[in-house]
């Protein structure tokens, strides 16, 4: 019995260390890869606790290895958008301007009930009030209401002439120009180069550049 107690204690400390090594992201919303690691770690940890015939190393080695693989994979996905897309997937728009994209819903195996539930959770009971609904990689639905239905804020009153209904698009993501976003916003390379020249920065040195249809942009330079 004492052996089981001591093994449980060792593995408890190890799992705590592992979760800390995985980082703070783990505690909040889980990405698919993090969910897999969490399930695997919890399963592996129980085996050497229950079965004292198994050396404790058969629990420790896979737990540490999995967590290290996850940390390395996180670093790789941070550098490569392609790998990030493969590992975590990408967000999908399921409602645009009050219209449900049924094909996207079908591809995501997302039912109307799921969508309506997610909207209701955010206080929206009519799908026509929605400007954008996006299924994030974590499975959570992010919703942007049409301007007419948004709560009144000082910003809205001061910019009441602003025609833009759509949320800003990311144009430069960690030094990489997203051409598709430029096309969506009806902007071109000339406009982008103008912004970069005005801020005396090259595209590769930009951490984030986002803009809306009214060409209101936000630029954050890389610090590291």
């Amino acid at each position: 019995m004492l052996i089981i107690f001591l093994r449980a204690l060792i593995l408890y400390v190890l799992v705590i260390f592992s979760v800390r090594l995985m980082g703070k992201r783990q505690i909040g919303e889980l990405q698919p890869s993090e969910l897999v690691i969490t399930i695997l770690v919890s399963n592996i940890a129980t085996l050497p606790i229950e079965d004292i015939n198994l050396p404790i190393l058969t629990g420790i080695i896979p737990i540490i290895s999995l967590v290290c693989f996850d940390v390395i994979m996180s670093a790789v996905t941070l550098k490569s958008k392609k790998v990030r897309k493969i590992v975590s997937g990408s967000p999908r728009i399921i409602v645009i301007n009050g219209t449900i994209d049924q094909r996207a819903m079908k591809q995501l195996r997302y039912s109307l009930d799921d969508l309506m539930e997610s909207l209701r959770e955010q206080g929206i009971f009519d799908v026509t009030e929605v400007q954008y609904a996006i299924v994030e990689t974590t499975g959570k639905v992010s919703v942007l209401q049409k301007k007419d239905y948004q709560p009144l804020t000082l910003d809205i009153t001061e910019n009441k002439n602003s025609a833009s209904q759509n949320p800003p698009q990311v144009i430069i993501d960690d030094g990489v120009i997203i051409k598709k976003a430029l096309n969506v916003l009806n902007l071109n390379d000339k406009w982008l180069n103008g912004i970069l020249n005005k801020n005396k920065v090259k595209a590769k040195d930009v951490f984030l550049l986002s803009s809306d249809e009214d060409k209101n942009y936000t630029l954050i330079k890389k610090e590291y």
């Binding site: 090594l21 015939n53 198994l54 540490i64 290895s65 693989f69 940390v71 390395i72």
Partner: protein
């Protein structure tokens, strides 16, 4: 970045330790087999006293070997071999002695093979 370096270092440590452990395991296996073979040899030459001395050395070596190997091998697999080793002294002078020696040699080779990363063991 710090986490990445720690992770890479941990993984490298695991790989190196695994390889070192496997080679130590292999050399200890060879030592154990040579003890058994010497005992068998002396027993076949009817040098019972010398065979008994060798057997005592074998038992002493076995307890060290058991403690070391139990860190990586499932204890039920080791228990079977341990039982055979403990029987040897009692079997001296009987027909089963040599067959028990063979079964110990086979058992420890089997344990080593189960730890070695052959393709069939991985898959």
């Amino acid at each position: 970045m710090k986490r990445l370096i720690i992770s890479v270092l941990i993984l490298a440590t695991i790989v190196v330790t695994s390889i070192v452990t496997l080679s130590v395991f292999d050399s200890k296996n060879e030592q154990l087999i040579s003890y058994i073979e010497r005992t068998e040899e002396l027993y076949k030459q009817n040098k019972t006293d010398l065979a008994e001395e060798e057997l005592t050395r074998l038992n002493r070596f076995w307890s060290d070997y058991y403690n070391l190997v139990s860190y990586i091998v499932q204890s039920t697999k080791l228990e079977e071999v341990a039982q055979s080793v403990s029987k040897l002294k009692a079997l001296m002078g009987k027909d089963e002695f040599l067959s028990e020696c063979e079964s110990i040699k086979y058992g420890i080779r089997l344990i080593y093979d189960s730890e070695f990363p052959y393709l069939h063991s991985i898959l």
